[in-house]
Amino acid sequence: MTDEMLRAPAEVKYADELDWLESVDDGPKPFSWRLSPRMVRLFVLGSERSDGLDREIKQKWFGDRSFVERAIVTLASDRGLLLIGDPGTGKSWLAELLSAAISRNSTLVVQGTAGTTEDHIKYSWNVSMVIAKGQSRESMIPSPIMTAMEQGVIGRFEELTRSTSDVQDALISILSEKYVSIPELDDDNVVFAKPGFSIIATANSRDRGVNDLSSALKRRFNFVRIPVVTNKKSEAEIVRFRTTELLRRHRIELDVPPTLLDILLQSFADLRAASESASSDDERLESALSTAEQIGVLEDAILHSHFFGDRTLRAQTLAGSLVGSLARRSPEDLAILNKYWHGVVEPRSKKDGGQWPDFLEGGRQAIATLS
C-alpha cells in the first residue's frame, strides 16, 4: 500500500512498528487508545536499550521529551491539544504521529483556511440525496471531526488560527459537551463523542493577531509551544532523517556528504543569529529559517544535482538552492544574503577551506543571477 502512495500517513508507514508495539504493550490504556501513553511516547521519541525492548524503535520527532509527555497527557485528559510554534517546527508531524499512535488514524484532518466554514467542522448535506430522500443520517456528510467523535479517535485541525473566529468557536461545544446536535433531523439527531475522542490543533505563532482564539476556546485547549530547534546536533539528526525519507520517496540514490550538511547547518545558524540581532524587518530574512526550510533547501539541491547535475551533491548546488529558497524579497533578502556571503562565507572559506570556497562561488553566482 505504501508503494502506491506519494506520501503514506504515519499509521501506514509505521504499521509494522505500531502492530508490534501494540502486541507488547501491557500498560494501562486510557479510553479506546490503541497504545498506552508510555508506548506512545516510545513510538514518537524512539526506544533505548534501557527500555528493554526486543526491537529498536526509531526516533521520529526530535525535540524536548517533556513536550511530547505534556502533549500525550493532555490527550488523555479532558482538554484538546493545541500545538503552537513557528512554521516548520514539526507541529503537524507531531500531531500526525500522536494520532497514528493513539488511534491508528491520522487522516481525520480539517485544514483551517479563510474559507473554512462551520460545515467543515460539523456536517454538511449531500444535496442530491436530500432532494431524493429528504434529510436523514444517510444524506448527511459528517466532517472529519464528527467522524472522529463517532469513532472515538483523534481528530486534527490544522492551522486553527487561519480560520475565522466564528468557525473556531464551533469547536467550543464539541470540546465541552462532546456532542453535536443535528437540528434538521427529528430523531437520532445527536452525535455523541465516544471515549477516546480528542482534538489536536496546530497554530502558527506568526499568525498571531489574524484570528485570535476566543478565551472560551483557549480555556478548552492546553497549549504546548514547540520552539525552533537550535541545538545543532538534533537539527542535524532531523535534517538527515527527513532527507533520507525524501530520497527514498523520490527513489534517488545520492549521498549527502557530512561536510555539506555541516555547511548547511552552519549557514542557517549564522543567518538565524543575524536575524536575531537585526533591528528591523528589512534587515531580517523573510524566512523563519526553520528546520523544515533547511530540509527544503537540501531537497532542492539533491533534486537539482540528480536531474540536472552529475548525480553528486556539490557545494555550489547547495549554495544555489540556499540562495534560491531564502531570497524571497528583492532587494531586501538579496542584500542580506549578499552581505552574509561576503561578510561571513568569504572569510570562512579563506580560513577553513574544505567545501566552503565552492559554496562561496556557488552562492555568488546565484546572487548574481537573481540580482
Binding site: R79, A203, R208, R219
Partner: protein, 933 residues
C-alpha cells in the same frame, strides 16, 4: 587504589557482587571492575578513618537533616568545615541576618594579582536548609565547641583560579531579577556534587527522564535519603562522591585544584589536632562528598605531612556579609530555577514532620520560633556495617506529594494565576491535578513531584501570551516557597552602611524594607533634613542607578533645591551599600577617595579633573581638597598634548569661574594658575590644531573661546597678548571651516576689519568653484560664535546670504546637516543666533516687502554721503574764528603746536566769481529745477 585490608572488610560481599557484574557486562572487565571496586574501596576507606568524615551536598535538605541528627547524637567538640579559613570571624555575624546571606571576601587593592583584574570578590551563600548552617549553629550555640574552617583562603581561590574560568552571572529571564544579587563574584559552595563529564550528566538525565540535574538529584538521592539512618546516608554520599570522582576527566585542572584543596584541608586539620590536643574521636570533619572520597596522600590522620601551604599574596582582603537569594544561588551555581526553593520547602516539611530537631542561631531573624538545642549525650561510634548493598538493590523510594498537598497547590496556583492576569478557574485546578497525576504516571513515579506539578500547571494554564509580569513557571516557584531574599542585619553591616542608616533616620522611613520608599523633604520648613538630602546626593553619586533616585530636585554648582522628593530602595541594593562599606568608614571618605582616584588615574584628563573639582565643591565643600584637585587639573592640562577635551574644559572652567566669583572673595590660586597655564597652553597648540586633520572645528572653536573669553583675566595675571596674536598669525588652516574660524579670530583681534571679512565672503559666494564648500565656512563661523560673540550679526548675514544665493543643489543637501550640526555641537549657540535673526528680519509680512537687509543699507549709506570731506566752514567755524581764545587755551593745554588755518578763499573761488559775473544761466537752471520756487 584498594587498600589491602579492605578485602576482608564489611563491604567484601558488595565488592564481589559488583565485580561479577562488571565481568558480566563489559567485554574487557579491567577498567569497569577497577572503577566499581574502587567505589567500594573509597567508601570503606572514608568510613574507616579515625576522624569522622561527614559527607554533605550543597542545598540538600537530606544532608541538613542527617547532620542535625548526627550532631545531636555525637555532640562533637571540634568541627572542621570545608569553608575558606579566613571567613571564620564572619560566622558570628550570621546571628543578625535573615538567611540566605552570603559570606563575602572582597579586595580592591591588589598586590600579586594582575593589575586590572580587580575588584576580586568571593561569595559563599548560606541557606537555612543546608548542612553547613546546622554545623555553624551547633558550634556557635553550644559552649565549648570549636568550629575550624580548613579550606584554602579567599586569596588562594583567586591564585588557583583559571583565567578563563571567571564566571559572569547576570540576571536572566530564567532566574528573575534577583539573580544578580551576588554581582560578578566567584561563588564557592560546600559540597559541590555534580558529574564532571557532560556526557555522564546527560546520560543520567536521559535515563532518569528528567530535565535538570537538580531534579535528578532530588528524585534519586535526596528523597530516598531524607529519612535514611546515619550509616546509610554516609555510605551512599561517599559512594556518589567517589563515582563522580572516578568518572571525572583525569587531567582536568579542576581535579588538580580539588586535590590541592584536600591536601590543604587535611594539613590544617592535623595542625589543629596537634596544637590543640583534641581527641579525634570527639571531632568531626564536614566536607563535600566529593572530598570524602579523596585519594590524595595527605588524606586521613595518618596521611603524609608533605604539603606546605603556599603564602597568600599581599592583597588586602575585606570581609562582610551580603544579602543573597535563592534565585541568586541558582544562577551562580547553575541549578535549576526553583530548586533551592524546593529544597527549602522540603526541609521545612521534614522538620515539621519531626524528622529532626534542627539547630538555630540565637537571635536569627526569622519567622520560625527557635527551638532549644539540647539532647542526649555522645553516641559511641559503632562498627562499620554494609548499608550500601541494601540501598543499591532497592528501587528508589519515590516519595512525592501527598494528595491533600497536591490539591492545595492546584487551588492556590489557580488563585495566584488569576491574580496575575490569567483567566484561570476551578476547571484549571482540576485539570492541573489530573495532568500532574498523569504526567507522574508517564514518568514512572508513584506520586507527582513538584517538578511534575510545575509541568502540569504550565500545560494547563499557560496559553499563547503571558498576561502579566510572571509566567506560570515563575508562579509555581512562588507557590513552592518562592524566592527568599536574605537580609544582613544592622549590627553585621560595615560602619559605613550603619552610618548611612543612622543619618537617614530623620526621614522616618524603614529603609530595611525591600520596597521603594518615597522620601519627601521641604528643606525650608525642615532645615534639619538638609544633611539627609546632602547624604542622598552623595549616595546617588556613589551607588548604582536605582538605589536612590531623585524625583524632584537637583544639585549642581550654585544650585539648591527647596523641596526634594526621592525614591529610596536601599533594602534592595544592600549589597552595593555593603560593598561601599569596604572602601571606607564614611560616605565622605569614600567619595574623597573616588575623586582622588579619578584625578590620579593614568588616563585622567584636565576635563575629568575639573569634573572632580566640581563634584568636590558640590558634595564635600572642602576648600583644601578642592584646591588639591584643582592643582592636579593644572598639572594635567599642561601635560596634555591633544585638545580633544577643549570644549569640556571651557564649559567647566567657565562654570567654576562664575561660581568662585559669586561665592568667594577672590579666585583660588589654582584657578588663576589654570587660566594662565591654559592661555599659554592653548596659544602654543593653536597653530597645530588649526592644521591637524584629526582636531575638529569644535575643539579649535573651544580653544579660541577659552583664549578670548578668559583673556581679560589672563592678561591681568601677566599673560601677553602678543603670544595670541603671533599664534593666530602662525595659523594657516586649509579646511574651510577652520579658515572661517581663523578669520573670525583675526576679526576679534582687529587684524581683519568686518568690511574685508564681508568682502571675502562675497567673493566666495561669487566664485562657482568654491560655492559647494561654502556651507563648511558657515559651520566654522557658527563655531566661532562661542569665542567671538560680536560676530553674531555677521553670521546671520552670511547664513542669510547663503540661503539667498547658494544653488539648490548645494543648499538642499546641506540644510539637514546644518540642523544636526547645530543641535549636536552648538546647542547653546542656537538661541543667540535665533535672537539675532529675530532682530534682523522683519516680524510681519507687511514689512517684508519694504525690507532691506541691514548690511545692504549699510553698503548704500556711504555712497549717499560720498561728497567732499567736511570743510572748515559753516556757522561753527565762523563762531570759533570769531572767538579763538577758548580753542587757543585748550590747544596750549594739550601742547598742540600750529595756529589757525588761514581764512583763504575756497578752492573753487574762480567758479564762484564766474557765476557771480553771469548769473543768468544759474537762475534759469534754478527756475527749471524748482518750478514752484
Amino acid at each position: 587504589m584498594s587498600s589491602p585490608g579492605a578485602v576482608e572488610g564489611p563491604f567484601a560481599a558488595l565488592r564481589e557482587q559488583l565485580l561479577d557484574a562488571a565481568a558480566a557486562f563489559a567485554g574487557a572487565p579491567a577498567s569497569l571492575s577497577e572503577i566499581l571496586a574502587g567505589l567500594v574501596d573509597d567508601v570503606d576507606r572514608a568510613l574507616r578513618e579515625q576522624l569522622e568524615i561527614f559527607p554533605v551536598c550543597h542545598h540538600s535538605p537530606a544532608s541538613a537533616l542527617a547532620m542535625a541528627r548526627r550532631l545531636r547524637e555525637k555532640r562533637p567538640e571540634v568541627v572542621y568545615l570545608e569553608l575558606c579559613e579566613d571567613l571564620r570571624p564572619l560566622l558570628d555575624e550570621l546571628r543578625n541576618c535573615r538567611l540566605p546571606v552570603a559570606l563575602q571576601a572582597f579586595a580592591t587593592e591588589l598586590d600579586g594579582f594582575p593589575a586590572g583584574s580587580g575588584p576580586l570578590s568571593v561569595v559563599a551563600p548560606i541557606t537555612e536548609a543546608s548542612a553547613e548552617y546546622q554545623v555553624i549553629a551547633y558550634a556557635l550555640e553550644t559552649p565549648g565547641v570549636e568550629l575550624v574552617l580548613v579550606d584554602r583562603s579567599a586569596d588562594h581561590v583567586f591564585q588557583w583560579l583559571d583565567k578563563d574560568e571567571q564566571p559572569v552571572i547576570q540576571a536572566d529571564s530564567e532566574h528573575g531579577e534577583d539573580a544578580a544579587l551576588h554581582g560578578d563574584a566567584v561563588g564557592i559552595e560546600i559540597g559541590d556534587l555534580r558529574p564532571r563529564f557532560a556526557e555522564l550528566e546527560a546520560h543520567l538525565l536521559h535515563h532518569g527522564k528528567v530535565r535538570h540535574w537538580s531534579e535528578w538529584w532530588d528524585q534519586y538521592v535526596e528523597r530516598p535519603l531524607l529519612d535514611a539512618d546515619h550509616d546509610t546516608y554516609r555510605q551512599v554520599m561517599v559512594l556518589i562522591g567517589s563515582l563522580f570522582r572516578r568518572l571525572a576527566p583525569e587531567r582536568g585542572d579542576r581535579l588538580a585544584r580539588d586535590e590541592e584543596r584536600e591536601r590543604h584541608m587535611w594539613t590544617r586539620i592535623r595542625e589543629h589536632l596537634s596544637t590543640s590536643g583534641a581527641d579525634p574521636g570527639r571531632c568531626m570533619y564536614v566536607c563535600g562528598a566529593f572530598h570524602a572520597a579523596s585519594r590524595v596522600e595527605e588524606f586521613g590522620l595518618a596521611g603524609s605531612d608533605t604539603y606546605a601551604v603556599t603564602p597568600r599574596t599581599g592583597t588586602r582582603w575585606l570581609y562582610g556579609l551580603i544579602p543573597s537569594s535563592h534565585s541568586a544561588i541558582e544562577a551562580q551555581f547553575g541549578l535549576a530555577s526553583g530548586s533551592v526553593s524546593i529544597a527549602a520547602a522540603t526541609w521545612a516539611k521534614a522538620v515539621s514532620r519531626g524528622g529532626a530537631r534542627p539547630y538555630r542561631l540565637e537571635g536569627q531573624q526569622s519567622k520560625a520560633k527557635p527551638k532549644k538545642a539540647a539532647g542526649p549525650g555522645l553516641a559511641a561510634p559503632g562498627p562499620v556495617a554494609d548499608r550500601l548493598s541494601g540501598f543499591l538493590s532497592k528501587p528508589p523510594e519515590l516519595g512525592g506529594l501527598d494528595e491533600d498537598e497536591l490539591l492545595g497547590w492546584c487551588v492556590d496556583l489557580v488563585r495566584l494565576a488569576r491574580r496575575n492576569g490569567y483567566l484561570s478557574s476551578t476547571a484549571d485546578a482540576i485539570a492541573v491535578y489530573e495532568t500532574s497525576i498523569l504526567l507522574a504516571g508517564m514518568r514512572d513515579r508513584a506520586r507527582p513531584t513538584p517538578y511534575d506539578f510545575q509541568d502540569a500547571a504550565v500545560t494547563c494554564i499557560e496559553k499563547d501570551v503571558v498576561p502579566g509580569r510572571r509566567d506560570v513557571r515563575h508562579l509555581c516557584e512562588i507557590l513552592l516557597g518562592g524566592d527568599r531574599i536574605g537580609q544582613v542585619g544592622y549590627a553585621s553591616m560595615p560602619p559605613l552602611a550603619r552610618d548611612v542608616y543612622d543619618r537617614l533616620e530623620p526621614l522616618g522611613l524603614d529603609l530595611h524594607k525591600r520596597t521603594v520608599q518615597r522620601a519627601l523633604m521641604n528643606l525650608d520648613a525642615d532645615p534639619h533634613l538638609a544633611p539627609c538630602s546632602h547624604l542622598l546626593w552623595m549616595l546617588r553619586y556613589l551607588l548604582p542607578d536605582g538605589a536612590v533616585r531623585p524625583i524632584m530636585g537637583t544639585r549642581r554648582l550654585g544650585e539648591r533645591s527647596i523641596q526634594e522628593s526621592w525614591d529610596l530602595s536601599l533594602g534592595q541594593h544592600q549589597r552595593s551599600l555593603i560593598e561601599l562599606g569596604y572602601e571606607g568608614v564614611t560616605v565622605e571618605q569614600v567619595l574623597e577617595r573616588r575623586l582622588r582616584r579619578a584625578v590620579w588615574h593614568p588616563r585622567a584628563t584636565a576635563a575629568t579633573a575639573l569634573e572632580a573639582v566640581e563634584d568636590s565643591i558640590v558634595f564635600l565643600g572642602s576648600r583644601r581638597f578642592t584646591d588639591e584637585l584643582g592643582a592636579r587639573a593644572v598639572e594635567l592640562l599642561s601635560a596634555e598634548r591633544t585638545v580633544d577635551d577643549a570644549p569640556e574644559v571651557l564649559r567647566r572652567m567657565r562654570r567654576l569661574l562664575a561660581h568662585f566669583r559669586a561665592a568667594e572673595p577672590e579666585l583660588p590660586a589654582w584657578c588663576e594658575a589654570f587660566v594662565t597655564t591654559g592661555y599659554a597652553h592653548y596659544c602654543t597648540l593653536l597653530p597645530t590644531a588649526f592644521v591637524a586633520e584629526d582636531t575638529g572645528v569644535r575643539q579649535v572653536g573651544a580653544m579660541l573661546g577659552f583664549l578670548f573669553s578668559m583673556e581679560g583675566l589672563a592678561l591681568s595675571l601677566g599673560c601677553d597678548r602678543a603670544q595670541l596674536e603671533l599664534a593666530v598669525q602662525q595659523s594657516h588652516p586649509q579646511a574651510p571651516a577652520k579658515v572661517a574660524l581663523l578669520w573670525a579670530a583675526q576679526s576679534q583681534l582687529g587684524l581683519l576689519p568686518l568690511a574685508a571679512l564681508r568682502e571675502r565672503c562675497d567673493e566666495l559666494l561669487a566664485n562657482p568653484l568654491v560655492v559647494p564648500s561654502f556651507p563648511l565656512y558657515i559651520s566654522g563661523f557658527v563655531q566661532a560664535l562661542e569665542s567671538v560673540p560680536a560676530l553674531t550679526p555677521f553670521v546671520v548675514e552670511v547664513i542669510s546670504k547663503a540661503f539667498g544665493r547658494l544653488p539648490d543643489a548645494v543648499l538642499l543637501p546641506w540644510l539637514p546637516k546644518l540642523i544636526t550640526t547645530l543641535r549636536d555641537q552648538a546647542r547653546e549657540l542656537v538661541p543667540v543666533l535665533v535672537r539675532e535673526a529675530g532682530r534682523t528680519f522683519p516680524a510681519g509680512l507687511v514689512e517684508l516687502d519694504a525690507w532691506v537687509p541691514p548690511w545692504e543699507r549699510r553698503a548704500a549709506a556711504p555712497a549717499a554721503a560720498g561728497g567732499p570731506g567736511a570743510a572748515a566752514s559753516g556757522p561753527v567755524a565762523e563762531l570759533l574764528r570769531a572767538h579763538p581764545d577758548t580753542c587757543d587755551a585748550v590747544a596750549a593745554l594739550l601742547g598742540c603746536a600750529g595756529g589757525w588755518q588761514a581764512d583763504e578763499p575756497p578752492a573753487y573761488a574762480e567758479a564762484v566769481a564766474l557765476l557771480a559775473r553771469h548769473p543768468e544761466t544759474a537762475l534759469a537752471v534754478a527756475a527749471l529745477v524748482a518750478p514752484t520756487g
